[in-house]
Symmetry: C2
Subunit: 245 residues, 2 copies
DNA sequence: CTCATAATCTAAAGATCTATAGAACAAGCC
DNA sequence: GGCTTGTTCTATAGATCTTTAGATTATGAG
């Protein structure tokens, strides 16, 4: 505590007993580490790799190795970034033998990530431009909200296609979805009932695999949409996932 | 673009026309600067001084000089941090003669700051501990929600006391509040009607001037509370502010 | 026009963050 | 016990961020 704090001006004598720490006429926010603490959350969100990891974890538990592979980083670096996310309680871990599985710390984290991204999309002009550019690419436009998807599923006549890699599908997918990884799409398109409307999805709002899928289907003359926000938005809206085939 | 991207594996031939940029079987998120953009918002929130500036701006427009004084930073540094906040569209400026007034870019920013802080409070264990410690100090406990405040104001018999500095009060305060800066509180306590319940407030959730005020009033044997979240929470809940006396 | 003031721009030192390498640790298998 | 694998810890070089100082711009006053 600085001498300035102690003696700069006559403090009003206290009512009864010592009210605590700082002279109340001094701006007291400086004496608390509150903003220091708040900034830790900001720091955790200040790095593209960490934001990417959080998005990957929206799909469910992953080991460090899996996350490293999916985010194209070294295991060491991935581990280091995950430690950082764990330090601010955004993720937690579970040990299973020699592997360590990371997952988001809870539903409030899922919700917060959505709000963070949503706010960023509306407020950052450059991001808005970038997303507009991506959506305006062929296949990017046919967006379907999760609510609309639910209606269609209730009506029937819709086939849900999960275009992520098979291992992601196995980990957890939308109920009723069939797995057709993007790389296999061309040769397997015939498997899908010809009269059904297709709805494709991938992991989240920034994955455009489903947009590519839309193109393939559209080129084949089929009715096709993609889920806006992908699997992440489904989870966020309270939808559950099912594992395995 | 790396040679690996170009030729590593046979890409599925395209349906009709070029679908665009990247090989869809390559993870496409790497080719978009989306996470780079998102991280800019995180970066803006990764520094305690900037978070403090945002909180100050919740009270309304301020010039660079005022913000520098309130946050105890040099004008140069304050300006630099404000530029950064402006670059991500969290704040905007208005020139008035030789002065430049900064303000939050819109209601969505106000809301987002609240959500960011709220989430940080519930998720960061250390912050939670710190706030619990502050609230458990004398005067910290008698918290009153904005909703409860509205009820009391409707009922009458409550006197609202703004314990911030006079200039902040002049800039904008809760309708019906009287200005009694904390430094003057002791000598001016008699001004307030003896039978009224007192509700004190200051700028936001991390300002404890109102907690100190609660102590003074309580020691004088008066019924007293402080607004939980302060003026910031009032604004966030849709309440408006009035300027001048 | 000259001067004063509020704020910004530029440059640079110091602090912090990122990413990698090498060593270390923990669990399971032989 | 030793060996292997998945992950973390420690140290460190390179990159980025923060803060200040000095020069510069923009506006208004005389």
């Amino acid at each position: 505590m600085s001498p300035h704090h102690e003696s700069a001006r006559p403090r009003p004598s206290e009512p009864t007993g010592d009210p605590g720490t700082a002279d109340p006429t001094d701006r007291p926010w400086l004496d608390t580490p509150v903003y220091e603490q708040l900034s830790r959350l900001g720091k955790a969100l200040s790095n593209p790799a960490r934001l990417r990891l959080l998005d990957l974890l929206l799909q469910g538990e992953h080991t460090v190795e899996e996350l490293a592979a999916a985010s194209r980083m070294t295991v060491k670096n991935t581990s280091a970034q995950l430690q950082l996310l764990r330090a601010v309680q955004l993720v937690t871990t579970r040990r299973d033998g020699v592997r360590i599985h990371y997952r988001l710390a809870g539903p409030s984290v899922v919700e917060f990530i959505g709000r963070f991204q949503g706010f960023a999309e509306q407020t950052l002009a450059d991001l808005h431009v970038e997303l507009t550019r991506l959506w305006s690419q062929p296949g990017g436009m046919e967006r379907l909200s999760v609510d609309e998807l639910r209606e269609r599923l209730a009506r029937g006549g819709t086939v849900l296609v999960d275009v992520r890699e098979r291992d992601e599908y196995v980990r957890g997918h939308l109920p009723g979805a069939v797995s057709v990884p993007l790389a296999e799409l061309r040769e397997r398109m015939a498997e899908l009932p010809a009269d059904a409307d297709v709805v494709a999805y991938c992991e989240g709002p920034y994955c455009f695999a489903s947009a590519h899928a839309v193109q393939y289907f559209a080129a084949a003359g089929r009715s096709v949409h993609r889920i806006d926000g992908g699997l992440a938005e489904w989870v966020r809206s309270g939808g559950d996932l099912v594992p395995e085939e």
